[in-house]
Subunit: 225 residues, 2 copies
């Protein structure tokens, strides 16, 4: 019997690649997506397509109303998504997002008796979010090691972040070799309801440059200008 893993699946390019990596490593994959009130809710449709095409065991989409808290351009419509690069950590940062998502993954992993969690964070071609860095993943792992019944009984959960040191181009080449269909994925922070990307936000820029650098045809659908 294969080991189980919980894979955080946003519907973006990175997490689709991570799911393929977990499957390549022979894990039975349980995909977890969060319906957190994100501006780009069409990424959840993408997550559904990716989960289905990669044959996950189960795909759980949890509602979580982070709009009640706000504080990010992704969860507060009064804040605009920048169309040019900004200094420092951009307004698209969602407070404690990966901490929350990993916490929920940790809970699900424990109920499934899974000892592995995969997350597609990347600290090379990224928006500078603090919770995408190696020191955050390590600190979360250390915390998880004392947080759960499984951990104190000798079965700590391992957090895998296989993309964390890769460039976007390397991620795309890796996923391409594994057969990931990137046409299914949505990276844009403000993709419309048809899943079309703006082509201007931070996430669109990083994605487009990644395909160009990787020498892989870019299947992204953009809104008509």
């Amino acid at each position: 019997m294969n080991r189980k893993a919980v894979v955080l699946l946003s519907g973006g390019l990175d997490s689709a690649t991570v799911l393929a990596i977990a499957k390549q490593q022979c894990f039975d994959c349980y995909a977890l997506s969060m319906d957190y009130g994100q501006r780009h809710a069409s990424e959840l449709d993408a997550a559904r397509m990716v989960a289905a095409s990669q044959s996950v065991r189960e795909h759980l989409i949890m509602p979580l109303d982070l709009r009640a808290m706000g504080g990010s351009a992704l969860t507060d419509d009064t804040l605009e998504v920048p169309s040019t690069p900004t200094q420092g950590i951009p307004v698209t940062y969602v407070p404690a997002r990966n901490t929350i998502f990993l916490s929920l993954a940790l809970a699900w992993a424990e109920t499934l008796s899974a000892e592995d969690i995969f997350i597609g964070v990347n600290a090379v071609d990224y928006s500078g979010y603090p919770d995408c860095r190696p020191e955050f993943i390590q600190a979360f792992q250390n915390m998880a090691a004392v947080a759960t019944r499984d951990a104190v009984e000798g079965r700590p959960c391992q957090i895998h972040a296989p993309l964390i040191e890769l460039s976007k181009a390397q991620i795309i080449q890796y996923g391409n070799a594994l057969g990931v269909d990137y046409a299914q994925t949505i990276s844009c922070y403000q993709a419309n309801s048809r899943g079309e990307a703006c082509g201007q936000c931070d996430s669109c820029r990083l994605r487009a440059q990644g395909f160009a650098d990787a020498g892989v045809p870019d299947p992204t659908r953009y809104v008509a200008q």
Copy 2:
């Protein structure tokens, strides 16, 4: 202007005491409760009463469907709440609960520009849950110190657990001195919809013993036998 604090408020005895302590320390308090599908949903009514009587700035009750994950007698009706003490960590343990709750508190704190979070965990008269112990709180604090924009910009969040080393009797004496109305609070793991306690579960036993040891009249309403 007072500093802001996020206070995790379950509606139980401990968190009502912690709220009073945070107020005594002159924080403007933002109470956060989770509607996580807990069997004892009447504790949310208790939380509302406590929040109102202690004049919090805001009381946010977040829906969070932990029943979708299950794995605990508190979130899965097919598992029974034990009426006698059990060996090891009991079935009322909710996987990663305090990790999830603290993560959401961390998110709200950041959007409020609050640098303090209060939680009523206790590692003396408790059910043996791993996420109520000092090493967990310290590990969460270490993780939070690298997780958020506020933290990396030099404003890390402080996790306060002022009850962690106190006995239940000491907690009750402390709260009593601060004027906490314990009649408003519900500790029972399976309180009914009228807020009446079973008198038999772990949490009821610890609470009743605490009032007895403290020499404080116990205002708990029990179901008629």
